[in-house]
Symmetry: C2
Subunit: 280 residues, 2 copies
């Protein structure tokens, strides 16, 4: 396993700056975000990572597929574009955050039309996957379904456990659909170790960050530097390795303090913490 910088961890950096940062700190891989790639330009971003000899451990992110009607077709079209981008960047996978209940938006009060049909939203995900998996397969891109912590079920992801993501993925060939193991999202799951073993080589991405306590008012920013929260990493890392995962370990932290810090210090800290508290 080798460490990868998910570029949202150093959110103020452009793709060019993040690629330079990885080189400066001896990292071999980077996780890119579509927004940052669009700012830099797709072809330019692909050239930057290629010239720097970096692997692209993931592209974040497709998904948001749970709205029915016309918005569903638009979401599928956007996801096909994300697949094309992942192909051009030679990303190891395209991370899918599948979306929450239809009409339920992060940070906004419930509207009159907010959906409560959780089972229906989950069916939309399965339908979308049936459209997108073959498309991705033809372009050599692996979709990586990311289960999000159940606290995000209303507004961000109705795929809430690794087991649920895995059951969805298993309907497709291994090279088309895998799953993400993100410690923040799954550390609490009593079935975690059984499902990591069951996932085996379906694990398309291993992402690490800590679960802070107490959570900040905006729970999205409850992701902390490894060692700053409640997660015991080595058993999870060992299980992922034992399952046959040979990819990179991405550090993806959404945290106001980390974003405010000097990105070079963040990279130095994440390297040190990886060695101290994450490795099996």
């Amino acid at each position: 396993m080798s460490l990868s910088l998910n570029q949202w961890t150093t959110r103020r950096w452009s793709v060019a700056e993040a690629v330079d940062g990885c080189a400066r700190h001896g990292l071999e891989a980077i996780g890119l975000w579509r927004e940052k790639v669009a700012e830099q330009g797709l072809a330019a971003s692909a050239k930057l990572v290629r010239d720097a000899g970096l692997r692209v451990s993931s592209l974040c992110r497709g998904g948001f597929l749970t709205t029915g009607g016309e918005a569903f077709a638009a979401a599928l079209a956007d996801n096909r574009r994300a697949v094309d981008e992942a192909a051009e960047l030679a990303a190891a996978c395209l991370v899918l955050v599948v979306g929450g209940l239809p009409g339920v938006k992060p940070g906004e009060p419930l509207s009159e039309t907010a959906g409560r049909d959780l089972a229906g939203a989950r069916e939309r995900v399965a339908e979308a996957l049936a459209e997108l998996a073959p498309y991705a397969g033809e372009r050599g891109v692996k979709l990586a379904l990311e289960p999000l912590h159940p606290v995000y079920c209303p507004d961000r992801a109705v795929v809430s456990t690794l087991g649920q993501a895995l059951d969805l993925a298993l309907a497709y060939p291994e090279e088309q659909v895998g799953v993400v193991v993100d410690t923040f999202h799954v550390w609490w799951d009593p079935r975690l170790f059984a499902d990591v073993a069951r996932a085996g080589r379906r694990i398309a991405s291993y992402q690490v960050c800590d679960y802070l306590h107490p959570l900040p008012a905006d729970v999205l920013l409850g992701r902390g530097m490894m060692g700053d929260g409640v997660i015991d990493f080595p058993p999870i890392t060992r299980a992922v390795l034992d399952a046959g995962y040979t990819g990179d370990v991405e550090v993806e932290i959404f945290n106001a303090d980390v974003w405010a810090a000097d990105p070079d210090e963040v990279l130095a800290t994440m390297k040190a913490r990886y060695a101290e508290v994450v490795r099996a």
Copy 2:
């Protein structure tokens, strides 16, 4: 099924006031809290509910059993007292909120000695149950293991899913250990309907309240009046009924606005909402 007032919903009321309120609104059952019972007096509380002809649908709560060492013995002793109280009150069950990681406290920053051994904390729960289940059985009290939403895993309950609670309960006779189905805690679970069916008559308590969006800064207070959040209740109610549950439906809401409201209005609203949005 018949509606029950969990008295924390009308938190400002004493046991005597809550018993009167139930009678005034035609409710047949009440869920009591140990703190309130202690303030009223145990024998006095038992007499009040008996004279009013109310069933005690649950006593809240025992638990907090995940700390090892000397604190573990003290926690067991306190839980035995809770069992005795449940017996005197003829409560249908004693709800157990099992506790979080050792040394991790709600609302307080992590200390240097905070525990990260989640598997160990879960073992403590199983050990405690082995002590408490026979004790409860001898006194005709059913322990009801309550899985809490995974957002409470660090500080309140390392039992995070209905399936996990059920696996713990199944080691004991049905009359000794059951499980709680609280909509707030389990609505997101992809395995909910399978595990409710598997639980069958192990369901010792069905508690309802909604899951608000967005959550307030203190996630403990994210419990809302039914209809004010994202939960689709009838499928869950139907599943609980189909599993063979014949007990009361307790409304348990932790919510600053509900606590600030006139308790009689809260009871009127909960009766109306129960009929409108909860019943199968």
